[in-house]
C-alpha cells in the first residue's frame, strides 16, 4: 500500500527540487510503479501543473517533457517519423492504452528500471536527460548514476542522421519484456542496446567493426554472436540467463536486418 500524508501540485521546478531534498518526499511521475510499492510518503510531489507534457521540435533537437505520457510517445508524429516508428514499437506493448495514458516518460527513466522498454529506446537514440540541478547529461551516464534527489525536467534528442529499430520479446502480450533490443545507426556509428536482461539496458558499439557496409547477413550474425557472448544476462521468473542469451542473438539479427531494409527504402 502506498500511504501519502500530503499532496502538492508544485508551481515551479524550484519548489519540486526543494521538496524532493527530503527523502520522505517523492516526485510521483505517473505513480504507476510507485503505487505497487509498500511505502509511506510524507509529501507526494506532482509536476502535472508545470507544462512538462509536451513534445517540442527545436532547430537541432527534440525536447520531450518529463510528464509526457507513454501514449503521447506512441502517437507523436514528429518522434515516430524521426524514429521510423520505433518509438511507437517500444511502448505499444506496455500493459494497455489506459496505463500508457498515465505512465510518464520521466517516471520511466528516473527509476532506471531493468525492465524498461523506454530506457532501452532512449539509450538507442543517444538522448540526453535534463535534470533541474544536475544539468544536461548523456542518458548513458544517467542510467549508471545512483538516483540523486533531483527533478528530471525533459529528455533531449539531438537530431542526427538516424536509423533505428526496436524489438522486444514477451512471454505474453502486455507483460514485462523478457528482453528488449534497439539497434541504431547514428551518423555512421552502429549501436545495439539490450535491456530487460533483466538488468537495466546497456549499449554496445560495433567497436571491432564486425558489420560491413552492406550489412550483410554474415556480418550481422558475427556482431549478434559477439554481443550475445559479451552481454551479462540474469535469470528471473520470466526467463533464464541462457534463454535470454539465445533470444538476444535472434533479436539483434532481426533488428539489424530490418535496419538494412529501412535504409534501402
Amino acid at each position: 500500500m502506498l500511504d501519502i500524508k500530503n499532496y502538492v501540485k508544485v508551481q515551479s521546478l524550484e519548489e519540486a527540487y526543494e521538496l524532493c531534498q527530503d527523502r520522505k518526499n517523492i516526485i510521483i511521475g505517473g505513480m504507476l510503479w510507485l503505487k505497487m510499492q509498500n511505502r509511506s510518503v510524507e509529501t507526494a510531489i506532482d509536476l502535472c501543473d508545470l507544462g512538462l507534457d509536451t513534445i517540442v521540435e527545436k532547430e537541432n533537437e527534440i525536447h520531450v517533457g518529463a510528464m509526457v505520457t507513454l501514449r503521447q510517445l506512441e502517437q507523436d508524429h514528429l518522434l515516430n517519423d524521426y524514429t521510423y516508428g520505433a518509438m511507437k514499437e517500444s511502448v505499444r506493448h506496455i500493459v494497455g492504452v489506459q496505463f500508457r495514458n498515465l505512465a510518464t516518460v520521466g517516471g520511466s527513466l528516473f527509476g532506471r528500471y531493468g525492465f524498461s522498454d523506454v530506457l532501452t529506446m532512449f539509450m538507442a537514440l543517444d538522448a540526453y536527460v535534463e535534470l533541474y540541478h544536475g544539468g544536461i547529461i548523456p542518458i548513458q551516464e544517467f542510467a549508471n548514476m545512483r538516483p540523486t534527489p533531483d527533478v528530471l525536467v525533459r529528455i533531449i534528442i539531438k537530431k542526427s542522421p538516424l536509423h533505428v529499430v526496436y524489438m522486444s520479446q514477451r512471454n505474453t502480450k502486455t507483460d514485462f519484456p523478457v528482453l528488449t533490443c534497439a539497434v541504431s545507426q547514428i551518423n555512421s556509428d552502429y549501436t545495439c542496446t539490450i535491456g530487460a536482461r533483466p538488468l537495466k539496458a546497456v549499449t554496445f558499439k560495433d567497436e571491432n567493426h564486425l558489420l560491413d557496409s552492406s550489412l550483410s547477413d554474415e556480418s550481422i550474425e558475427a556482431l549478434a554472436n559477439d554481443i550475445a557472448q559479451k552481454a551479462v544476462f540474469g535469470s528471473n521468473l520470466r526467463g533464464s540467463a541462457d534463454y535470454r542469451r539465445r533470444i538476444s542473438k535472434v533479436l539483434i539479427r532481426r533488428a539489424f536486418q530490418q535496419l538494412r531494409e529501412e535504409k534501402k527504402s
Binding site: 500511504d3 500493459v95 502486455t174
Partner: protein, 156 residues
Amino acid sequence: MNVKINLNGKDIEALIEPDMLLIDFLRSQGCFSVKRGCDTSNCGLCTVLADEKPILSCSVLAARMNGHCIVTLEGLQKEAQGLAEFIADQGAEQCGFCNPGMMMNAIALLKENAHPSDEEILDYLAGNLCRCSGYEGQLRGMKAYIAYLEQGKENS
C-alpha cells in the same frame, strides 16, 4: 483536502484524503460500475475517461483529477447499452465482470478511431483482461456494433 471534479457532467466538490485513489472516490460517489479487479494496474476493469482519455482509476490520485472531467459507465448509458447488446449477441458475456472496463475502453477507442481494423481493436483492448472468453466474441461483437453504427449513418 478539497477537490472539484466534474463527474458525469455534474460538478462535485468533496473533502478527500491526499492518498485517495480515483477509483475509491468514484465509488464513494455511487459509481459502482468502476471496479477493482487486480489492483496491479493490469486488468483494465477500473477504466474511466479523464478529459475523454481512458485511464486506470485504480492508479491515479483523486487529488490529481482536481478540476478535470471524469466520465464513468454511469454517464454513458446510451452508448453502453447499444454496445452491450452486440457483445451479448456473440455470447462473449459470461461472468460479465470485465464488462464495464471493456465497454469504457471500447467507447474510448471508437471516439478516437471510428473505423478501427481488427488489429487496432485488439491492440486497443489488450489492457482489458477477460478470463472467461478468448476475446474472439468481444472482437466479433465490436465489429458488428461498428457495422451497425455505419449502417445507421448511411440510412440517416
